[in-house]
Amino acid sequence: MAQPAGLLYSKEHEWAKLDGEVATIGITEYAQHSLGDIVYVELPRIGSDVKQFANVGVVESVKAVSDLFTPLGGEVVEVNAGLEGDPAMVNRDPFGDGWLFKVRVSDVGERESLLSPERYDEIVAEG
């Protein structure tokens, strides 16, 4: 499957979209499909500082509990409040309305450790 362009990806199947110094973060289509019906998302607190690749929350489906890692470090400035009432939004629109949280990135250079759409696509294809 082709991965949306303009995003950066982690091996843990998160994506990040940088807009200036703020990154919007979510999980990929591949991740939501692997998890199945998502019933609960635990997100980091607004105002907390998170380090790149740190475990910052949990995504739970009917059958599985999965740790959530942040692809970029910084201060959490917003979380997707709509997911509390409708966590299945992550299944329906993982790259859009199903985004998870936003980080004011402390070091934009961290993006060098992330994957291009093409490289991430290869990882997904390898299974």
Binding site: G36, V39, V65
Partner: protein, 372 residues
């Protein structure tokens, strides 16, 4: 040394692959966890109908005049007094009263069918074989015979045009927990009005070689009425809502049928059976840990093994848990806890990754269908 054995495929493996199922190893078989979505499949069964491959379940055939009295010595419920074409839930216990397996017996005119959990198939087969007496003949059909279930409020109307019954006047006139020989889409089957979903429905026992043709005929007939293929994920949510125990969760070698809320199936009036003395003593003391239902206050799911507290005191652990779509998407859990914490209305706390989530003890089942 452990030798890894590859998972077996049921006779319906190719059908699952063609339908895009996510296959997972389960009790030695590659089984569909889900096709499209666990929650959509759950909804199909509650509102319309679902189609399940249960061919991984262990089927044993028991022949001979002595089967009834012999099986009565090995199980807690009555076997010998079952009528022909009757089905009955039963449990095998160990000497301590713990549960070896929970099973169904189906009595046919010339034999009995015993259906055991897939994960316990070998254990129960070894038990049956080692305790066999003259007048009892056993045949292991595990993996050779197939089982397809149609479950849900539309199961009857989907099956009726396809089925001719031989030992019951019609499917509609069959009582719950009875069975009959039938031809379904021209295929010879034993059809039972049993299931594990909390809905009305039927289970169709057929030869493995006939399974794919029957599966397709049922999908063709049922599709216009909203029949959906359903995997083990949906089945687990359905049975949990319906308060039915699952071996390895609410029932184990250490959990007795009494503790799992299956007292009704334990016939202590039978003079002798494996585990009777232990179960009698446990029933008299009535001080044992037991399975209770809980509804969680929040939206955070519990999982098997999570610790359960009353105040600061640990009183047990979670055995099964899930979102319960039939209860307005509340989170529910069965817990195995001390007797004094299992009273209805008791406020408990479930430790979810270091945070206590409130939960209240409620009666089981969580969900009962409206009887028509």
């Amino acid at each position: 040394m452990t030798v890894a054995t590859p998972e077996r495929r049921t006779a319906l493996y190719e059908e699952h692959v063609a339908l895009g199922a996510r296959l997972v190893p389960f009790a030695g078989f590659q089984m569909p966890l889900q096709y499209a979505s666990i929650l959509k499949e759950h909804d199909a069964v509650r509102q319309r109908a679902g189609l399940f491959d249960l061919s991984h379940m262990a089927q044993f055939e028991l022949f001979g005049e002595e089967v009834g009295p012999w099986a009565d010595l090995l199980t807690v419920n009555n076997v010998a007094n079952m009528k022909v074409w009757q089905a009955r839930y039963n449990l095998f216990c160990n000497e301590h009263g713990g549960t070896r397996d929970d099973v169904l017996f189906y009595r046919r005119h010339d034999r009995w069918l015993l259906v055991a959990n897939a994960s316990n198939g070998e254990k129960i087969w070894n038990l049956l074989s080692s305790r066999r007496t003259s007048g009892v003949t056993l045949e292991n059909r595990h993996g050779a015979a197939a089982l397809i279930a149609v479950q849900g409020p539309r199961a009857l109307e989907i099956l009726t045009p396809l089925a001719s019954t031989f030992d019951a006047p019609s499917l509609a006139e069959m009582k719950y927990y009875t069975c009959t020989r039938a031809a379904v889409a021209g295929i010879e089957a034993l059809v039972a009005r049993t299931g594990y979903t909390g809905e009305d429905g039927f289970e169709l026992f057929v030869e493995g070689a006939d399974a794919a043709a029957l599966w397709r005929a049922l999908l063709d007939e049922g599709k216009p009425q909203g029949l959906e293929p359903c995997g083990l994920g949906a089945r687990d949510v359905l049975r949990l809502e319906a308060g039915m125990p699952l071996y390895g969760h609410e029932l184990t070698e250490a959990i007795t049928p009494l503790a799992a809320g299956q007292r009704w199936a334990v016939k202590l009036s039978k003079p002798e059976f494996t585990g009777r003395a232990a179960l009698l003593a446990q029933a008299e003391r009535d001080d044992f840990d037991r399975v209770a239902g809980t509804i969680l206050e929040g939206k955070v799911p519990a999982r098997q093994g999570y610790a359960v507290y009353r105040g600061d005191e640990r009183v047990g652990e979670v055995k099964s848990a899930s979102i319960a779509p039939s209860l307005g998407n509340r989170q529910v859990a069965t817990v195995y806890i001390r007797k004094d914490a299992a009273t209805e209305g008791t406020q408990l706390g479930i430790d979810v990754r270091g945070t206590r989530q409130g939960a209240q003890v409620v009666p089981l089942p969580f969900y009962s269908r409206r009887k028509t």
